[in-house]
């Protein structure tokens, strides 16, 4: 459990943040610039002292103004990847990396130096000074430094913002592995819903110094009332799923979820592996009859459950597909022409391509979702 309930005044800015959530997996802090994300994370690390309140992680109280508890940062064992890299200018890259390593408790879950170096592509940089690094290189070193300190909890404040997509794609699985294999809980600040969906189990939505909502990513990203905070572009359903089969000849993997089986480009995961699949509303098309001779592999039969009122050119619809909610975004023109309204039966078409690596997150290792469709034959999706 991560329990945060703090009040802090900074100039004109009032932070009054309260949330509690599970710490297995990744907790994402999401919110607009200046809402107080960094301040919350600083308080967790012990770098900002709240005016009052309480912070506890897994039952250990780190701060409690009423009891006068304030564990110093170095004894919190909380790793921190800062928004600005904050590398030590007087150490080489190697020295920076070894700084936390030397002080880390040995054994138990410790990460290998050479492993981190290889993973973050730092081999050629070990002898450099921080000022001789590019922006992205700096952030990679900062990431490695925090990891090597073998933290109990890892705080990451927009760690990937200055990295290019291929590098992000390389590092994200590593963070996932940290989370899953090493069971390091991560508090992750990001503006990129992609990353959050992929990594996070829990989402803490912040707005103007307050926590607007906190809960499972699946729940919050599906809620229409939170759209102003989560962002319209990013709207969609995040669904728990499990690997139910592979179609090796075509390099596809079948994912069972409450609404059926989804085919996606092959995942190197065993059957039964737990995932979160994000299907963005913008990637779902609707048809009144099953499409024929069409490249769209995933077609699900469902019912229109709710039609959003957006007033613009685009309309969001919630569908019930089996037991799963699915969101579709179509034009108002199509809505009118197809005559869609709640209760109407439709076919939802989801391109296999649209469900790409960025939309798939491995769920925390202790998540257990057994899809209803797990017993279905591999081909039991509603046609293709």
């Amino acid at each position: 459990m991560l329990e945060v309930s703090i009040v802090k005044r900074l100039g004109d800015f009032d932070l009054d943040a309260e949330f509690a959530c599970e710490t297995h997996g990744v907790v994402a802090l999401f919110g607009r610039s200046g809402v107080g994300k960094t301040t919350v994370v600083n308080a967790l690390a012990g770098l900002v002292r709240p005016d009052s309140g309480r912070i506890a992680i897994n039952g250990t109280t780190l701060f409690d103004s009423s009891q006068g508890i304030d564990v110093p940062p170095e004894r919190r064992r909380i790793g921190y990847v800062f928004q600005e890299a904050r590398l030590f200018p007087h150490y080489s890259v190697r020295g920076n990396l070894r700084y936390g390593l030397r002080r880390a408790p040995r054994g138990e879950g410790a990460i290998d130096f050479s492993h981190v170096v290889e993973l973050l592509g730092l081999e050629g940089l070990l002898h450099r000074r921080p000022r001789d690094l590019s922006g992205g290189e700096r952030q990679r070193v900062a990431l490695g430094r925090a990891l090597l300190a073998n933290p109990r909890v890892l705080l990451m404040d927009e760690p990937l913002a200055s990295l290019d997509q291929p590098r992000k794609d390389e590092i994200l699985p590593f963070i996932e592995r940290l989370r899953d294999d090493l069971q390091v809980p991560i508090v992750y600040v990001s503006h990129a819903m992609d990353e959050i969906i992929r990594l996070a189990d829990t989402l803490v939505l912040m707005n103007a110094g307050h926590v607007a909502a906190a809960g499972p990513v699946e729940d919050l990203t599906g809620r229409l009332d939170l759209r102003p905070l989560t962002g319209r572009y990013e709207a969609g359903a995040a669904l728990p799923a499990a690997v139910v089969g592979h179609e090796r000849e075509y390099g596809l993997t079948q994912l069972g979820f409450a609404g059926g089986v989804l085919r996606v480009p092959a995942l190197d995961l065993p059957i039964g592996a737990q995932l979160r699949v994000r299907i963005r509303a913008r990637d779902v098309a609707l048809a009144l009859r099953p499409p024929e001779e069409c490249s769209i592999l995933n077609v699900f039969q469902g019912t229109v459950a709710e039609v959003g009122e957006d007033g613009g050119a685009l309309v969001d619809l919630r569908l019930d597909v089996g037991d799963a909610p699915l969101w579709a975004r179509i034009t108002a023109k199509s809505l009118a022409e197809l005559g869609l309204c709640p209760g109407r039966k439709v076919f939802a078409m989801v391109k296999a391509v649209a469900v790409d690596r960025h939309s798939l997150g491995r769920r925390a290792a202790n998540a257990r979702f057994v899809p209803a469709g797990a017993s279905l034959p591999p081909d039991a999706g509603s046609g293709d």
Partner: protein, 230 residues
């Protein structure tokens, strides 16, 4: 360039010894006091700050006299040092080093403090999240980043020690081979007819010594800068 006379060699060696010791004992103390003044709040901070600056404000002779009163054989600290450790500072080269250290102290403290205050506290925070305690942060982050200031403090202190006259002659007198440093020897020469040439030679020795120390420190500073970046 020129061969040193015995007297010159003696004064030179003594001056070096005294200055090195003055910096050697003064610098760590200055570092601690500078850190206190830069990073901590405590009652009496203003007082400490004032005390540190006293040797700068008072004429050296007065400082020397105060040292004589405190550290002399009959002075409170001097008597205690003598009975507790059998240590006599008055009228010995150790006393000369003490006088030089005291006179150089404010310069060392100020330079170091200035550097400590310029260290980015965010780096210190980062170090703490990596598991380093306050003391460790000081030694692994603050101190290395303060190195330019420490170096400046050391060179200022060394130069000031080389030139120290008033406090020294007042506190430890002008005893050949024991406390007659370069400036004191210079003073003695100025008092004698035909002494000017000798005085000039001694001044030249002082200057060469100081220039060598300066050049060394600049070199070191350049290396530091290359390491830390600017």
């Amino acid at each position: 360039m020129f061969a040193l006379s015995d007297l010159e060699a003696e004064a030179l060696t003594l001056s070096l010894q005294v200055s090195i010791w003055a910096v050697g004992i003064g610098l760590p103390a200055a570092l601690f006091v500078a850190w206190l003044l830069a990073r901590r709040e405590f009652p009496g901070k203003t007082l400490l700050n004032g005390l540190v600056h006293l040797p700068l404000v008072l004429p050296p002779v007065v400082v020397g006299y105060a040292l004589l009163l405190l550290f002399g054989r009959n002075g409170p600290i001097g008597a205690w040092l003598d009975s507790a450790f059998g240590l006599t500072v008055a009228f010995t080269w150790q006393g000369a080093a003490l006088a030089a250290a005291v006179m150089a102290f404010p310069l060392m403290v100020r330079a170091i403090r200035l550097s400590i205050e310029a260290v980015d506290t965010r780096l210190e925070s980062a170090a703490r999240t990596l598991g380093a305690g306050r003391a460790e942060v000081f030694f692994t982050v603050t101190l290395p980043l303060t190195a330019p200031g420490i170096l400046v403090g050391a060179i200022l202190g060394f130069a000031r020690s080389l030139g120290e006259f008033g406090a020294t002659i007042t506190f430890v007198s002008n005893i050949p081979g024991e406390t007659r440093t370069l400036p004191l020897a210079l003073y003695s020469l100025v008092q004698t007819p035909e002494g000017e040439a000798g005085a000039l030679r001694l001044a030249a020795i002082s200057v060469i010594l100081a220039l060598a120390a300066l050049a060394g420190s600049e070199l070191l500073a350049r290396q530091l800068k290359a390491r830390v970046g600017g």
